[in-house]
Symmetry: C2
Subunit: 305 residues, 2 copies
């Protein structure tokens, strides 16, 4: 599996009808990441059989409780499961103080290091990079300073065309072909022309997670044409004034953002407790942007290639 996103929580600040506050699990080429960590995130990871010890990167969008209150329990559980590898935590300043104070009062010393990456939510910044992906912050427009995250796969190596593989081909020849080069022998004679032996890679995947925000035109350029956009939709259009007042979005606004940014698919979530039935909300979004789904608990998006 190349990419898998699992929604762990779909609720706004006040959990209702069995919905949990925001958190999502994202796996890109075996990089196991968590985005936000609302209360109950460890129970939800258990429920969807995602091993918590594999998670190495946690991205927290902002310090409203419904986006981080499950983190501390998760850290304690990682400790109890005898984790020793570093955990990378990306957050605004403040969460470090909150963690340290709670460790102090429980007289706990974790078995593992938390590598704390404090970011400025007002800037578009690269906050993580490894061999296969980059993660940038997306400045949002909320009551409390808040950032979304843009996860983008790097250009993937070309794929060897297995039908063309021959027995005499050396491993270093295959590696060179994958990286895009032609292969020459010691006398500089062409052995394998790249275009004959390889196929283009799968298009690199991009996911934009846009946590709590009011309509935010500034992010259009940054999220343009991503494969998948998660955008909050706390309210329906009939509560547009309430959305504006609380700096949240309506389902129609989330869909308009998806349309304007030309994304592939939209997931909406962070639903207000006033909506038991979410079908009207989905319909409202689909009228603007048809390829929309609800980001309900257990919803997954997978890309196998």
């Amino acid at each position: 599996m190349s990419v898998k996103l699992t929604i762990l929580g779909s609720s706004g600040a006040l959990p209702a009808y069995g919905r949990f506050p925001t958190s999502q699990y994202l796996n890109i080429q075996n990089r196991h990441m968590l985005i936000d960590s609302g209360e109950g995130v460890q129970m939800q990871l258990n429920r969807y059989q995602i091993p918590i010890h594999k998670i190495d990167h946690i991205f927290i969008s902002h310090l409203h409780g419904d986006h981080y209150l499950g983190l501390m329990g998760l850290l304690f559980s990682m400790h109890l499961q005898r984790r020793t590898t570093d955990l990378h935590l990306y957050s605004q300043k403040g969460l470090d103080d909150i963690i340290l104070l709670q460790l102090k009062y429980s007289k706990s010393i974790l078995n593992f290091n938390i590598v704390y990456h404090a970011y400025d939510p007002t800037e578009k910044k690269l906050i993580h990079e490894d061999d296969v992906l980059t993660v940038h912050t997306i400045p949002l427009n909320h009551k409390l300073e808040c950032a979304g995250f843009l996860f983008r796969e790097k250009t993937k190596p070309r794929k060897i065309n297995k039908e063309k593989l021959s027995n005499g081909m050396l491993l270093q020849h295959i590696a060179l072909l994958k990286s895009g080069g032609d292969v020459y022998d010691e006398n500089n004679n062409l052995l394998y022309r790249n275009s004959e032996y390889t196929l283009p890679p799968r298009t690199s995947f991009a996911y934009a997670f846009c946590s709590d925000t009011a309509w935010n035109e500034k992010m259009v350029d940054q999220i343009r044409e991503v494969d998948l956009l998660y955008h909050e939709a706390t309210f329906m259009e009939e509560e547009k004034d309430k959305a504006m007042e609380t700096k949240h979005s309506t389902a129609a606004q989330a869909a308009a953002m998806a349309k304007q940014s030309g994304v592939g698919k939209l997931l909406i979530g962070h639903f207000s407790a006033r909506y038991r039935d979410l079908e009207p909300m989905l319909q409202e979004a689909r009228e603007v942007f048809s390829n929309t789904d609800l980001a309900l608990e257990g919803t997954t998006f997978e890309l196998n290639a």
Copy 2:
């Protein structure tokens, strides 16, 4: 209903198999109380249809995360539901700092006051009293300083024998009879002899909540003959050494405490994640003290009188 206890979480520190960390809802004559507030407590209150706005008293046994990490989410939800009445919080020193720091970073000011009652967990102390009940701390024996709580109904008024009520009886006569007095007329002639017009009240109810603790002989006198004892049972007897090392109890020890204290009924909980099937644990306890049940999520104890 006079007394109702609902178990909201039965898990030890590492939640597993859908079990939640410790919290319990206790209603004594419409005093709505919460005992511990493990992660997910607000979702569990929703699940069992207990209205969170009714809860006026929260007792926290100690500052290990699995006993309080759901509190902050509950406070935010009370705020979002526009609570304005005081909330009484009983805890060791420290939880106040933890709450204030999280309010600071979320730039939140709650609509209601938290009246913080800091207690010393090493002493048997009265920490709450009203017309119908008292609450005392029970010093426990755990790695982190920890207290249980003893909830005891006050002596209840005598009940009017409805078969003896006559039309001419004045409201103040009935009140006097209920309080245990005889009723005389202005010339000091006996009108109603109490023993003829009233029945004895239901026996006052007592509940001892004994959160995380190793075997703790010191509490026997304090909890003697309570109607209901909740005692943690993190391990089975085969893990007795592990229980001792981590300052927890086995099911057999919890039952021995129930037997030695002569309680009416025992509930065991705080189960380690190593036990998926809890039936052997229940059998272990019942061999020592037969009137034992598992304190599973949704388990209720009711007294209607």
